[in-house]
Structures are given as C-alpha cells and as structure tokens.
Symmetry: C2
Subunit: 284 residues, 2 copies
C-alpha cells in the first residue's frame, strides 16, 4: 500500500501501528524516529522497525506516508520542523485525540511545501502508555476518524481512509470541528469525570479503596491515563469540553434535584434514560 511509512513518536499507538503494518504487509519499510535517544535505541531492537533515524527530517525522506504519533501539543510544531522535507505527493497524518487546532496549524505549515496533511484519530488506546504495551491488534475492529477540510483532494482523503480500513478500522469522516465536539462528549468528558471522581476519593479516607468493587474500578480505569498527555488534550479541546461539561452538570443537577425532593418516579425515569443509552452501547 505504501513503500515506506515513517512513524514519528513510537509509543503505544505508533509502535502498535508499526506492528500492524508489518503483520499485514501494508508498507515496504517502516522507519521510526523519536526525540528521545532511549526510545530510538529501543526501536532498533524491535522486529517491526526497518530503520531508526536520528532526526524527523531524515525519517520522512523517502516516505510516502508519515504518521505523527506524538502528544497532541507537539504534533503541529513537529509538522513545522518537517516542512520542506516531506516528499512531494506524500501523505502526512497523525493519531491525535484533538483535531481542530492540529489540522488548522499543520495544514498551514505544510501548505505549498510538499505533502498534504489530513488528520486522523483512531479510537484505540489504553490507559497504559508506551511501546512496551503496544500490540499488533490494537486498531483492529475500532472506529477511526478522518477529518479532511473542504479543499483536500478527494483521492488523498480516499487513500487515507483505505489505509485505516486496511487495519480493520471503521472509518468515519467528519470535519475537524465536528470531530472535536463528538470526542469531547464520548471521550474527553468521561475522562474528566473519572479523574475528578478519583481526585475527590483521594481526598477522603484512602482505606475505602480496599472495599471497592468492580464498578468503581471499571468506571475510573481511564483516570490512570498519563496526566501530561491528557492535560494537552483537555487544553486543545477546551471550549468543546467545557460545553459538554455544562451539559453533564445540568443532567447531574436534574438527578440530584429529583433525589433531594424524593421524587422516586423522577429518579427512576432519569436512571432509565441512562440505562437505555448504556444498553445500546453494549451491543454496538
């Protein structure tokens, strides 16, 4: 599918992607680069890595697909470092959890300097970060957003969609702005809430943690995510996240008011609405 794919930032997502590319024969070569010398040294020992370059500019030389897998705040600046080095006709994408800011900045930085940037967001991952937790099947069966803007050439968009589909992902095409609204609700808000719940429980008696059942464990798992990465995600998607948070608080207050006034029918009706949503989630 591609002759050479450059993976910039081989952490959980980048290394899993490289493994999947190799397993499925989707790229002739896989070239990796990381800003950290330690990570570059680790890459050299991995079977999914054909070459490790000392600079991002060297990694993109000869690559017809470049995938940026670094933390969201560093994606656009890294695209800036690549401008002028990307091969003409190469496709540049990323795997970041936010899209509006990244797509706007990256497109403008690459514009007219070789290569086209179109954002991606594979909805795969884990609260466990790092190459050590990478696995070949991380992407298979998961949804993936592709976020073109109006003047992106259709054939480039189609090529990017085919790429993620070849990893068994279900691709949804949305504008970067609409993407950020959607993930603010289904990903960033749940994370924000789980972190707040854990933060609050941390302020109470820590021994209570001993008695927690699977409910608390499952409902807070995502709060184990890397604070440094999530701080960036929240900041880049701040406005949409704050809007989603307001909506959540309205619902929370409606349920609280029903409980406060001992309106048992009202409480049950609100719980039922939540249950119906969740039950549908299970089977989809």
């Amino acid at each position: 599918m591609f002759q050479q794919v450059a993976i910039l930032g081989p952490g959980l997502l980048g290394a899993s992607l490289a493994m999947a590319l190799k397993a499925r024969g989707l790229s002739g070569r896989v070239v990796a680069w990381s800003r950290r010398a330690e990570t570059r040294a680790k890459c050299r020992t991995r079977p999914w890595c054909d070459a490790v370059e000392e600079s991002a500019q060297q990694a993109v030389a000869g690559s017809d697909l470049v995938v940026l897998c670094t933390p969201v705040a560093t994606i656009a600046p890294l695209v800036g470092e690549l401008a002028g080095h990307v091969e003409p006709g190469a496709l540049v994408t990323d795997v970041g959890s936010t899209k509006s800011l990244i797509c706007r900045q990256a497109r403008s930085l690459l514009s007219g300097r070789g290569g086209a940037f179109i954002g991606s967001h594979p909805m795969a991952g884990s609260e466990l970060a790092g190459m050590e937790h990478a696995r070949e099947d991380l992407f298979a069966g998961a949804p993936c957003f592709v976020t073109p803007v109006e003047d992106d050439p259709d054939h480039e968009v189609a090529r990017l969609i085919r790429f993620w589909e070849a990893l068994d992902m279900t691709v949804e095409t949305l504008s970067p702005e609409r993407h950020d609204e959607v993930v603010a609700h289904i990903s960033h808000l749940p994370h924000f809430i789980a972190s707040s719940l854990c933060g609050y429980l941390a302020s109470r008696d820590p021994r209570w943690a001993h008695f927690a059942g699977p409910g608390l464990r499952d409902s807070t798992r995502i709060a184990s995510g890397d604070p440094g990465l999530w701080r960036q995600i929240f900041s880049q998607n701040r406005d949409e996240l704050l809007r989603a948070l307001d909506g959540f608080e309205d619902e929370l207050h409606a349920l609280k008011a029903a409980l406060l006034n001992d309106e048992s029918t009202g409480v049950a009706a609100l719980l039922e609405r939540g249950k119906q949503y969740r039950d549908r989630l299970r089977t989809e």
Copy 2:
C-alpha cells in the same frame, strides 16, 4: 456450618449465594422463597434448591440462617412479616447495599420475637440482574461488610463473619452509619455519575455511540443497572449520597476552573492526584 439456610429473594445475589453454599457444603439444606410464583417455579428446577416454600414464614421455619436478598426497600418490611416466625437463636441477615435504615427498622421489628438481625453487604454483583446470571464464584475474593450495632452479641457477630469468610470474602466490620458513608462514595456516587453521563449523552446525537471506545463503555457499565433497584438504594442512602455528590462537584469545579483559566500545571496536578488514587486501586 448451618443446618438450613433460607434464601428470601433468589435473584443474582440470592441464587449465587445458594450455589456457593451448596458447592462449599456450608448448609445442610437450602430453602428458597420468592414473592413471584414464576421465580418459585424456576427455583424448583435448580440443583441448589432443596425446597421452595409458598410463603416467607414457611421458608424460615427450621432455618438457623435467614438471608434476605430482596430489593433494599422491601427488606425491612419483609423482616416485619417474619417476626414471630423466625426460629429462636436463628441469625437473620441481608445483602442490601444500604444499611442504616434497614438495620434500625429490622432490629426493632425482630426485637424480642426470636432471631437476631445483623446487616451484611457483600460487595459483589453485576449490572446484570436475575437468577439467570447467578454464579457460584460471585462472592469469592470480594469484600463484605458486616454492620453490627453495640448491643449485638459478639458470638452472633463472629458467626456471621465466619459465614462470609467461608465464602472467601474479606469481611470488614463497620457501624451501619459508617457503612453508608463509605458506600455512598465508592459505589453509589460512581453509579449516580455514570447514569448522569449516559442520560446526558442520550440527549445528544445518538449516533455518537457508534464511535465510543472501551473508555466510555467501561466508565458507564454500571449505568446498565436496574433503575428500580438503584432508585431504592439512592433513596435509602440519600443524605450520604448528596454529601458525597457535593464533594465530587467541588473537585469537578476545581478541575474546570483550572482548565478555564488555562492553568496547565494545575490541570496536570489534579489529573495526577486522580491517577495516583486509581493506580493504587488496580493492585489492591
């Protein structure tokens, strides 16, 4: 350990308990009763059930342990129906998720009329209710609260603790009031939040559910719980739950304020506090 155990209300918890009793040889006989004729008929076909009685009073006759496994709002009223029928010296307990109201009412209803009531709350269960989902190992390895009050005889409390320990549970002894404070935080609050989140998402574009990753699925699983049962739990533990909710909202607002003011260090510090709590939960 017991000659005959009466299981009143053989749903997920009651039927799992009966299965575990049989598998571990902890009771000579297991007698079941349900208010619903349909459930009684089902019990007659199950290997864990030695007899099914038409009334709760008949089920407790000859039983030296009585376990009430019905929804929390019906536990104390059912104890009222049993008063005068429980064998002298028999132990009466329950598996309800709230304890203050139940223990106060049940003790006063049984007082001086044969049998002693001491509350229990095994922290086992699932969002899937009903006998069909029962399993022999539901309790094994999970925590269990036993909630005696001051004038309960030590040997009766010790007997109840030994019973749950024989099911491989780790028993914690707390007052009913303290129990309700603890579970308001580690069980009822997470449920309240998950239901509110799902209720809010239900009010937005329902197609977004298609794109949800494992994070949203895990963090909202408990919202699939039975609204009728949870309405009762919230109502019985209303004051503690509302207090816990206030504390959670304070934490939510602190994180929101840090994000609103773009204090990235503050956001990261709050996320880090949540992560540390959650990481400890994983290994305990």
